[in-house]
């Protein structure tokens, strides 16, 4: 029993950042915004958490600041994709590139400063206590998001706006407001995830830190059909792969798996999940919101 518990706590930091980022991503997409900036936001979040940490020297403050800042990306995306008849893909990709650029822009000077002044980075100590807290907080966030999505008017509005923003607007939902709120919340969660990755897992930064993990969060959420509680399960699986990849290779190595193919497999999983949801009866329950990524423009012409 103790062994299981310590194993759980061992993967808890990874689970926490993946799950929280996945929750955030799923929330954004529930409102119908195709979220291709997720990896950019995650990468920038890691760099910002690092920078904040270097300057304020206090992990919790860095966590809070990262959360608030990354949320702003969500506001930009929600505003552009809802107010203007604009491609979600183009907006997401542009912001992804800018975020990659800004990540190095902010992260590098901070890294230099640490080296020059011989500073010590004040991250969280990862032990059983902090891991338990991270685990509890992430699970609580999951239940909270579930409650909001399925039990409140805000949740009904988010789902409505994602399924059919035109009908939702006709019914009286303020599509822009709903998407701004959802997207801010979602991105703030991606920010929390990226900050936790830095503060509890890697505790250091080099160019490219976190790059690609946003896509893993994307995969985690997609594989769970963007459902906040199912995402718990997929996050668990992915965090085991991330944590124990070398141990896993002891079993998988003889089957021809290498660390490279295992890495490739993680991204392929997202594609596999899309296939499974497209061809199996799971489609009905886990289908993407009907208007995901569709341009929201009300003046359509008909004959």
């Amino acid at each position: 029993m103790n062994q299981v518990l310590s194993d759980v706590l061992e993967i808890a930091p990874i689970f926490a950042y993946l799950y929280i980022a996945g929750l955030g991503h799923g929330l954004v997409e529930k409102s119908g915004i195709l979220n291709l900036a997720v990896d950019g936001a995650f990468t920038l979040g890691v760099a910002l958490a690092f920078t904040y940490c270097t300057y304020v020297l206090e992990p919790t403050a860095a966590l809070a600041l990262t959360t608030v800042t990354i949320g702003v990306i969500g506001l930009v995306i929600a505003f552009l994709t809802t107010k203007l008849p604009i491609s979600h893909g183009a907006v997401g990709l542009s912001l992804m590139f800018i975020s990659y650029g800004l990540a190095s822009y902010f992260g590098y000077p901070a890294a230099l400063r640490i080296k020059k002044e011989g500073l010590e980075l004040h991250t969280y100590v990862t032990n059983e206590v902090t891991s338990s807290i991270a685990l509890m907080v992430s699970l609580l966030l999951g239940f909270l998001i579930y409650y909001i999505l399925y039990k409140t008017k805000l949740g009904a509005s988010i789902r409505a706006v994602g399924e059919n923003p035109h009908a939702a607007a006709t019914l009286g939902a303020d599509v822009l407001l709903i998407r701004l709120i959802t997207s801010y919340l979602g991105y703030a969660l991606i920010g929390v995830g990226s900050a936790l990755y830095l503060l509890m897992d890697v505790k250091g930064w080099q160019e490219g830190s976190g790059m690609g993990l946003g896509w893993i969060a994307f995969a985690v959420s997609l594989a769970a059909g963007r459902h906040p509680l199912v995402t718990m399960f997929t996050s668990g699986v992915f965090s085991i792969i991330l944590k124990y990849r070398y141990t896993l290779l002891n079993f998988l190595g003889p089957l021809g798996m290498s660390v490279f193919t295992l890495n490739a497999f993680q991204y392929a999983t997202a594609v596999l999940a899309m296939i499974i949801f497209a061809v199996t009866p799971l489609r009905r329950r886990f289908a993407p919101p009907k208007s995901l990524g569709k341009i929201y423009f009300k003046e359509e012409r008909t004959v």
């Binding site: 909001i148 039990k151 409140t152 008017k153 805000l154 949740g155 009904a156 509005s157 789902r159 409505a160 399924e163 059919n164 035109h166 009908a167 939702a168 607007a169 006709t170 019914l171 009286g172 939902a173 303020d174 709120i181 009907k290 009300k298 003046e299 012409r301 008909t302 004959v303």
Partner: protein, 515 residues
């Protein structure tokens, strides 16, 4: 030519209008939808807005409901100028729109849908907290609902009732019904009429959008007629006659418009199409076509009458290979032998000289981002792998002349054309490629009545002179009666009556349609 400048003094001088629309203009690419429109809606009246397809009726109410924003012009509510840019604004002013297509979120429950309209409820209100309120309000008006059922499980009529319930819940002063009753079965339409009258008696106003003159005359107190985006007259329903309203609706062309049968006929003995016990599913996995059989001879026009949604669309799509046939057979005669085209691909079927005028012309008929010439060249029957543009241009020029299509040039993108001209491009191309069989769904939608008549005559001519057989499904019964050699009435997926064109009885057909 305006028949009467809005004579509001004579109409309701004793009362101030609840809603006043003044000088509203609205353009879309290729069409001016509303030209300087003025309209007054009074408290406690049912005000019908009547007009042909494309006259601007829907645009007008969508402006009132904040779905569209006018290019210029003003809206006054109880004498005060208001700017309405969203349905939230409109609902705040007590205006609610119910459309022909229910604007509900399918995956949400009834109470979740209605909750979205309750602006008084905060975003963190629990969904369950409003259920009681919904039940109370629905019982008040005698509507039975289960608030926890998801909308996709409801029938069309139930969805429209939910929409009406929504209007009551938000305390609407004006309910705009945008062809909301058109598709309802007769008995259920009656039920909703009662409901509308109850609303009126309690002081509410109703804007009734329709293209059916009898419906307007029967239901409304006041009728405003729109023609090509202009208000051509407002009359009291009690003082109006069908002929007068018709002359308003169609203008000087009213005399050219005829619903008389196009009598010429040249049906041959030879059977071209043999459809036997056809079963086809709809998008939701239920049988939309249930055992339809018919034989179509060369030169014969088969008209399929029916209320929309009774399987006509699925039948038509199955005939041209766009929908899977579950059971049954479709045979077509080719070089004196019957060829089985059941579940053949659209490619194979179209190669046999089959023309197709689809539902949703913008989706399946034309591509508006391409030019007229390209819209013609896209048809595999017209071009080979290497396109001879000179040949395509010649065909295009010929069709533009024959159908009097108004366009800046042959290389203009189709999106700059008006809805009617756009439809003509489609019909012209399809009639051009038709060698054997024409399959059409609402072939004259969006056309003005004069052009519609022209298209019907052309279809008929194709049948009479070239021996082409045609299957025409239409929601417009007049159209069916006008061109068919044989009339079939489709109801709940089956042919419930088949008549010879010359001795069909309109009342009988209508009865079968709504049975």
């Amino acid at each position: 030519m305006s028949v009467s400048l809005f004579p509001k003094e004579t109409l309701k001088s004793d009362q101030k209008p609840l809603i006043s629309v003044r000088g509203v203009w609205k353009s879309f690419p290729g069409v001016v939808a509303l030209k300087n429109v003025n309209l007054d809606i009074f408290r406690g009246e049912i005000h019908a807005i009547l007009g042909e397809n494309g006259a601007g009726k829907s645009t007008l109410v969508k402006i009132l409901y904040g779905v569209y924003v006018p290019d210029s012009g003003e809206i006054f509510i109880e004498g005060r100028k208001k700017i309405i840019t969203s349905p939230i604004d409109a609902m705040r002013e007590g205006i609610v729109l119910v459309s022909q297509v229910p604007q509900l979120i399918d995956s949400l429950t009834i109470s979740e849908n209605l909750l979205l309209s309750l602006t008084a409820c905060g975003l963190f209100n629990r969904i369950s907290s409003v259920e009681k309120m919904l039940l109370k309000k629905s019982e008040e008006y005698g509507i039975k609902i289960d608030p926890n059922i998801e909308v996709w499980k409801l029938s069309y009529t139930q969805k429209q009732l939910v929409e009406l319930l929504r209007a009551l819940l938000v305390g609407a002063k004006v309910i705009a019904l945008d062809e909301a009753l058109t598709l309802l079965p007769y008995a259920e339409k009656r039920r909703i009429y009662e409901f509308v009258k109850m609303f009126k008696e309690r002081g509410g106003s109703v804007i009734l959008i329709t293209h059916k003159i009898p419906e307007a005359l029967e239901m409304s107190d006041t009728i405003t007629v729109l023609r090509r985006g202009e208000v051509v007259g407002t009359v009291k329903a009690s003082e109006a006659t069908l002929d007068y309203v018709r002359s308003l609706m169609f203008g000087e062309k009213a005399t050219q418009i005829s619903y008389a049968r196009i009598a010429t006929s040249n049906v041959r003995e030879e059977v071209l199409l043999d459809v036997n016990d056809l079963w086809v599913l709809n998008d939701y996995g239920a049988y939309a076509v249930r055992g339809v059989s018919f034989k179509l001879r060369k030169g014969e026009v088969l008209g399929i009458a029916g209320v929309a949604g009774n399987g006509q669309l699925e039948l038509i799509q199955a005939l041209v290979g766009l929908r899977k046939v579950v059971r049954g057979r479709i045979l077509i005669k080719q070089n004196n032998t019957f060829k089985d085209i059941t579940n053949a691909s659209a490619i194979q079927i179209r190669r046999l000289g089959v023309g197709f005028i689809p539902d949703e012309p913008l989706k399946r008929g034309v591509t508006i981002e391409n030019t007229i010439v390209e819209n013609i060249a896209v048809h595999p029957a017209i071009v080979n792998t290497i396109i001879k543009w000179s040949k395509v241009k010649r065909i295009a020029r010929q069709l533009v002349e024959e159908f009097s299509i108004v366009t800046p040039s042959l290389n203009s993108k189709v999106k700059v054309l008006s809805g009617g001209n756009l439809m003509k491009v489609l019909v012209a191309r399809e009639l051009f490629v038709t060698r054997n069989l024409l399959v059409a769904y609402n072939p004259t939608r969006a056309l003005d009545e004069v052009s519609a008549l022209m298209v019907r005559k052309l279809i008929k001519r194709k049948a009479v002179e070239e021996g082409v057989a045609a299957v025409v499904a239409s929601e417009d019964l007049d159209e069916i009666l006008q061109i068919s050699d044989t009339v079939a009435v489709m109801n709940s997926g089956s042919f419930v009556g088949v008549f010879r064109g010359e001795d069909v009885n309109r009342t009988v057909v209508e009865g079968l349609m709504v049975r």
